[in-house]
């Protein structure tokens, strides 16, 4: 039995100035009258991690979309999320971090009431979307306003076009036919940065795309409903580093139009994309603060230990 020296613990220390953060480029492109901008912030070939200053959105850009108030989720007798409260804002990327089994994913899934589909799950507390209690919104309507992307790329077994059009069509309907939908589908694909790659293959089966393309198709699908909030559950954990970078760039760009919440197991990823970070531990929300603060000067001892790699 050979003894292997453990890799050195990567410590994040120093001031904000030491932190390599992608530059905040501000809202780019002009509004298209739909609440979205045709931003092209990352297509000019500039290095993504150019700036040294924290990439935090100006407060004026941030709009409160959701409020989580005293949320608890139980699976039978096991408490997965305990009394959690925090806001979710458009214009910011919120990263949920924490060790495995700390309730990040459960928390994310309760935002669009997907937890209700799990047997034995019960929820207390209140979540509002634009001031309205989500419990009073019809679940299918809520899930079109708060859409979700999953850990594994999961395009539906249909063409690339139909994957996006499926979201736009009425429930199980196959109508309206293509011409009427084309613009909306292409817009969603463009927002996910996939349109140029798949323009010729819109009628090909989506499951033949590469993993990274599949995941961006899933993002396009989630964006097609024109949601206020986009939930991402470890969207890059099944992808290679290149695809991961493409999707991270996309996430940063998307926060202008939608509130983005990303669950990630990967601290570096949270560090790269997040404006705000919520650190969860054993179901509790230990710390909710700006990314700058969580990574450089966390208030809580547990947060400090986690981000410095002492556990997790």
């Amino acid at each position: 039995m050979e003894f292997v020296t453990p890799p050195p613990v990567r410590r994040l220390s120093g001031t904000d100035a030491d932190l390599p953060r992608p530059a905040w480029r501000g809202p780019t492109g002009r509004p298209n009258g739909n609440g979205h901008s045709n931003g092209n912030g990352h297509s000019n070939g500039a290095p993504v991690f150019a700036g040294r200053h924290p990439r935090v959105a100006p407060a004026s850009v941030a709009i409160d979309r959701m409020q989580v108030e005293g949320l608890s989720v139980d699976y039978g007798r096991k408490r997965a999320v305990a009394e959690v409260s925090f806001p979710i804002r458009q214009g910011e990327v919120l990263a949920l971090i924490g060790p495995s089994g700390c309730g990040k994913t459960t928390l994310l899934r309760s935002l669009n009431r997907l937890t209700e589909l799990t047997k034995g799950a019960s929820t207390q507390g209140r979540i509002t979307l634009d001031g309205v209690d989500t419990a009073t919104i019809e679940p299918t309507a809520l899930r079109r306003r708060v859409t979700m992307v999953f850990q594994q790329p999961n395009p539906f077994p249909m063409s690339v076009f139909d994957n996006v059009a499926y979201v736009l069509r009425e429930q199980a309907s196959r109508r309206p036919r293509k011409p009427a939908l084309r613009d909306a589908v292409e817009e969603a694909l463009a927002r996910a940065g996939l349109l140029e790659e798949v323009r010729a293959d819109l009628d090909h089966p989506a499951l033949r795309l590469s993993g990274g393309q599949q995941q961006r198709l899933c993002i396009a699908r989630a964006l097609a409903a024109n949601p206020e909030v986009l939930l991402l559950d470890e969207p890059c954990s099944a992808l290679d580093p290149r695809s991961t970078q493409v999707i991270e760039d996309l996430i940063v760009k998307l926060r202008e139009d939608v509130a983005v919440v990303i669950v990630t197991h990967n601290l570096q990823q949270a560090f790269r994309v997040a404006d705000y970070v919520a650190f969860m531990y054993l179901g509790e929300l230990v710390e909710y603060a700006s990314a700058t603060q969580v990574f450089s000067a966390p208030r809580e001892e547990r947060t400090k230990d986690y981000v410095s790699g002492a556990f997790g």
């Binding site: 299918t140 899930r143 594994q152 999961n154 539906f156 199980a172 499951l207 989630a222």
Partner: protein
């Protein structure tokens, strides 16, 4: 999952790459076991090959194209007894009718079991009913069918004479044959649905789709290879069954329609399929025309082999593009 992929991608340690180790280094018992496994494997291949070859030779000897286009007739020699046009057509008709019943019902049951399945007690009852049906000898289903279709209120499905219902017809046989195919369809479709990772369902719910929309547009298309596989397996079972056909299709060698409405009269009447034709013409049967039996059996074998090939192809194609769980 992610970790496992990472590990698999890393170069394997030397011990794991040494795949082609010689069985000479094994213990004696293990070597005997290996030899036994080889022996049995080859034995079963040989038995199957023998059956196919035997029927192939016999079939080629006795099969004439004219047999496929002439109807059976009574007689005492091979030249008098005609071909098996009606049994051939009836095989196709009865298979189509049975599958028309079994496939939609089977899909419905599988979807309900896999996606809804509440109350759980009812689901368990349905499950064990399907299992019991799969294990029921077809002669029992046939016997039950004769009782059922002799009921006066089902008289419109078969020949009647006064108040007596004959109870043997295409409808009766197809209904009971569909019960043979049903468990295979249900099991296959259900496995296909359960093989779809739950995150695919949730992805559909997460864009505001209902359970029914998800089932129709995402789950059933994804389970299509399983639907096809189950249908083909069921079809093979239906085509190959003899007991139900002999008891419920009336076992008249040619079609014997009942009534005056063109197609309905045939379906209400009696007939025979390739299996019952073989049964009738086998050396121990009433017809005793072994040459005709071999020819018909050969055609039957070809149909079943084609189905198995189809199952194989569909299964292979269905596996190519899937989600990771």
């Amino acid at each position: 999952m992610t970790n496992a992929q990472t590990v698999a991608a890393a170069p394997l340690p030397p011990s794991a790459t040494r795949r082609n180790e010689s069985s000479a280094s094994w213990r004696l018992t293990d070597r005997i076991g290996l030899a036994f496994a080889w022996f049995l494997g080859l034995l079963f291949c040989m038995i199957t090959a023998a059956i196919v070859l035997y029927l192939l030779v016999q079939g080629i000897t006795y099969l004439r194209p004219s047999l496929l286009v002439t109807n059976p007739s009574s007689g005492f020699s091979e030249s008098q007894t005609g071909g098996f046009l009606d049994p051939l057509i009836d095989t196709v008709v009865i298979a189509a009718m049975s599958m028309a019943i079994a496939v939609p019902i089977g899909i419905a049951i599988a979807v309900w079991l896999s996606e809804f399945g509440r109350p759980a007690v009812l689901a368990r009852v349905v499950e064990s009913t399907i299992e019991m049906l799969a294990g029921t000898p077809s002669i029992l289903l046939a016997l039950f069918g004769t009782l059922l279709f002799e009921a006066p209120w089902l008289g419109f499905l078969s020949r009647t004479s006064g108040s007596v219902v004959f109870g043997r017809s295409f409808f009766a046989a197809a209904a009971m044959l569909s019960l043979l195919a049903l468990p295979l369809v249900v099991t296959s479709v259900r496995e296909g649905l359960q093989a779809i990772p739950s995150h695919v369902r949730e992805a559909s719910y997460a864009v505001g789709k209902t359970k029914t929309a998800t089932t129709r547009r995402v789950l059933l298309p994804a389970a299509r290879p399983s639907v096809l596989t189950g249908s083909m397996l069921g079809l093979g079972r239906v085509i190959g069954d003899t007991a139900i056909v002999v008891l419920l299709l009336g076992n008249t060698v040619t079609n014997d329609p009942s009534g005056s409405v063109p197609i309905l009269s045939t379906l209400r009447g009696t007939g025979s399929t390739l299996t019952s034709y073989v049964f009738f013409n086998a050396p121990t049967g009433d017809g005793d025309q072994p040459g005709k039996a071999y020819a018909a059996a050969f055609v039957l074998l070809l149909m079943v082999l084609a189905l198995n090939l189809g199952v194989d192809l569909v299964g292979r194609r269905g596996r190519s593009f899937r989600w990771s769980s």
